[in-house]
């Protein structure tokens, strides 16, 4: 897919090239389009290039918010006896 970009974790960096773990598959990825990137960062990879660092904190925040709303509504809707649902 042409416009697809996939997240992966930067394992190590050698000059312009980073080794990135994408769902268990290791790929060599060019990091020249990024100003700064470190091992442990999550990057979006597209046609062999890292396009952007994924803001993991932002990702977790939005997920947390969504889950919080969801839990609240769930409890309001089904009461508290619905353990483990």
């Amino acid at each position: 897919m042409m416009c697809l970009a996939v997240p992966g974790e930067v394992l190590d960096i050698d000059g312009s090239i980073a080794m990135v773990d994408m769902a268990g598959v290791k790929r060599r990825v060019c990091i020249d389009l990024l100003a700064e990137v470190h091992p442990g960062d999550y990057v979006l990879v597209h046609v062999g290039f890292a396009l952007q660092i994924i803001d993991e904190q932002e990702a977790q925040e939005t997920l947390k918010l969504l889950r919080a709303c969801f839990q609240e509504d769930l409890h309001a809707a089904v009461g508290s006896q619905q353990e483990g649902d």
Partner: protein, 372 residues
């Protein structure tokens, strides 16, 4: 997989669907600009579980689908040139030109190579000093910086056998063209996620400002899209009209400045032909004048076909790309035209609307759940 699975949780999907149903108070036509979104929407089957008044209009954001037949013919002409290697992304192989495709040329013995990255094309040029390597490069803003970097690299390496046949297209001008078309009715936009990682959310501010339509830039997982729908409905309910970012884990206001610098250094805006849509001013990018030595169109001008090809008349890709028709409106869909033997470009790439419908339309979806 981390940062993917979290966005496929069916319980969250159900929750979002409920919220959407609650907020939905009338017909809403949403254009998803990006072919990646089209794929995700059709694949998840979410249209079957959304309120029937919400309709997705599939937009022009599949780079393979909008590449004009004339450009494919140019690539084919170069593939027939002796001692020439065409390097291109896999999706381009099956796109029909006026009488052949790169795949058919390869079968006949032409040197056509699929590359995963533009730098692989540069490597081919290094490894084959006696051949010309032409990188047939297509893409939207997502891919343009990566393609551009290959020219910078080739120049640094002093390569004289590397050039680019480019078909680079930009989102904002085609959205203007779509919105200026009276046949198209769109109430809101699902903004392209990966394009926006490069250009930033500010690139779409003209849509609410000049056309009074809300935009929510969305991620690609089913729950990302549902949450974006919810955000669009919320804007409508609250009487707001602005650009919002659901895909905030990857999209900032100003995008990736370094990638944008590469684009500026390598390309300049030109009038661009869109398959099925026509020419749009300043909607494409071609190599800057000082980089002409790397521009295959100029370098091999004598090889370029003179005739402008006709688009196949039975294919309604153009109308589909503009959002005024659907694949089922095409008599050839699934019969004369399949992914194996595509008549039009929308059937080739997995981001093409026809290809997505062909692949996923037959699967029934259980109510209340969204497939991932």
């Amino acid at each position: 997989m981390k940062l993917v699975d979290e966005y496929r949780d069916p319980a969250v999907a159900r929750y979002l669907l409920e919220q959407i149903r609650e907020l939905c108070d009338g017909p809403l036509n949403i254009m998803e600009i990006c072919g990646g979104h089209t794929h995700s929407i059709v694949r998840s089957g979410m249209e079957q579980v959304l309120p029937p008044t919400i309709k997705f209009v599939h937009g022009p954001g599949c780079p393979v689908c909008v590449t004009p037949t004339a450009k494919i013919d140019q690539a084919i002409a170069l593939a027939r040139r002796p001692r020439t290697i065409i390097a291109t992304y896999g999706d381009m192989m099956r796109v029909p030109g006026s009488s052949s495709s790169l795949l058919q040329e390869k079968a006949k013995g032409a040197h056509v190579k699929i590359v995963y990255s533009s730098l692989d094309a540069v490597r081919l040029a290094v490894e084959n000093p006696d051949s010309e390597v032409v990188f047939f490069a297509v893409g939207f803003e997502t891919t343009i910086p990566a393609n551009g970097l290959s020219v910078i690299r080739a120049k640094q390496l002093g390569l004289t056998n590397y050039s680019m046949l480019s078909n680079h297209v930009l989102v904002p001008p085609v959205i203007r063209a779509v919105l200026d078309d009276p046949a198209v009715r769109i109430d809101a936009f699902l903004g392209p996620g990966h394009v926006s990682t490069i250009v930033g959310s500010q690139d779409y501010e003209f849509i609410p400002a000049e056309y009074h339509r809300p935009v929510v830039i969305s991620g690609f997982e089913p729950n990302d899209i549902l949450e974006s729908l919810f955000m669009i409905l919320k804007q409508r309910r609250e009487g707001r009209c602005e650009v919002e970012v659901q895909y905030s884990r990857a999209v900032t206001k100003y995008g990736n400045p370094r990638a944008l610098d590469v684009v500026k250094d390598v390309f300049s805006p030109v009038e661009q032909e869109w398959r099925g849509i026509g020419a749009i001013a300043e909607s494409g990018l071609s190599l800057r004048e000082e980089l002409r030595a790397f521009d295959a169109y100029h370098k091999f001008h004598d090889w370029m076909p003179l005739q402008r090809p006709e688009e196949p008349s039975e294919c309604v890709c153009g109308e589909i790309t503009r959002g005024v028709k659907e694949p089922r409106d095409c008599a050839s869909f699934g019969t004369g035209c399949t992914p194996e033997r595509p008549l039009g470009a929308c059937m080739v790439s997995t981001e093409g609307t026809c290809a997505a419908y062909y692949r996923y339309q037959l699967v029934t979806v259980q109510t209340g759940g969204v497939r991932d």
